[in-house]
Amino acid sequence: MSFWETITGSDLTRDWKAFEARAQVLPADYQAAWEQIKGNLFPYAGFTGRDLTPIVDAALGLLEEASADGLSIGEVLGDDIPGFCAALAGGKGARTYRDRWREQLNRNVARKLGRLGG
């Protein structure tokens, strides 16, 4: 990735355009699920959202494979899209913005307490 792309986020825009183009050709019920998946993955994004790209790619990959197999979206994801997204984003390397923010806050508080001799 070039410095310019990093600064402007143009690489991300391109990735998302490609994702949306892939989603466009999915059946209608799959497209509805895709919208829900995007919304549910958003909280797992880091500050730039770049760490979400492989996860979104994986989710789309499942939708593409499953629709080609002629499955209904209900058969694929059940009724728990948030749970599916948590499992997708879970594990290593997907620390959320909120996690980092909490850590920072805790460090700051610890430092302050340290200075106060608490």
Partner: protein
């Protein structure tokens, strides 16, 4: 048998490893195999997230192969680390199930 989700949680990953260990296969085929076994509640999405985790943890070889129905499919095979993990799973399973059986029989 209905509603095994909670009970299966810790063991499904081992089941998926076992299926992949028998032959190279892909997501939906694994789901179907588990459904045929009698785990009707297991859905494609669940298997898919397990496969992603196995991939992240470096336990499987992934090969993309063209499919006659749609986009290329990801096929999974066990690597050495995966085989070790599978052996560990069966050892743990043996331990837990033997203890539970013993509990049921009222022994010590």
């Amino acid at each position: 048998m209905e509603d095994l989700t909670e009970m299966l949680k810790g063991t499904l990953e081992g089941c998926v490893l076992e299926i992949i260990g028998r032959e190279e296969t892909y997501g939906y085929a694994i789901t179907r195999r588990l459904n045929e076994l009698g785990f009707a509640d297991v859905i494609d999405g669940t298997v898919y997230t397990i496969l992603l985790r196995l991939e992240r943890n470096g336990l499987v070889e992934v090969t993309k192969r063209p499919s006659d129905v749609g986009p290329p499919r990801k096929f999974y095979a066990l690597n050495d680390a995966g085989r070790t993990e599978l052996a560990t799973f069966w050892a743990k399973w043996q331990y837990v199930s033997s203890r539970i059986d013993r509990l049921r029989e009222g022994g010590r």
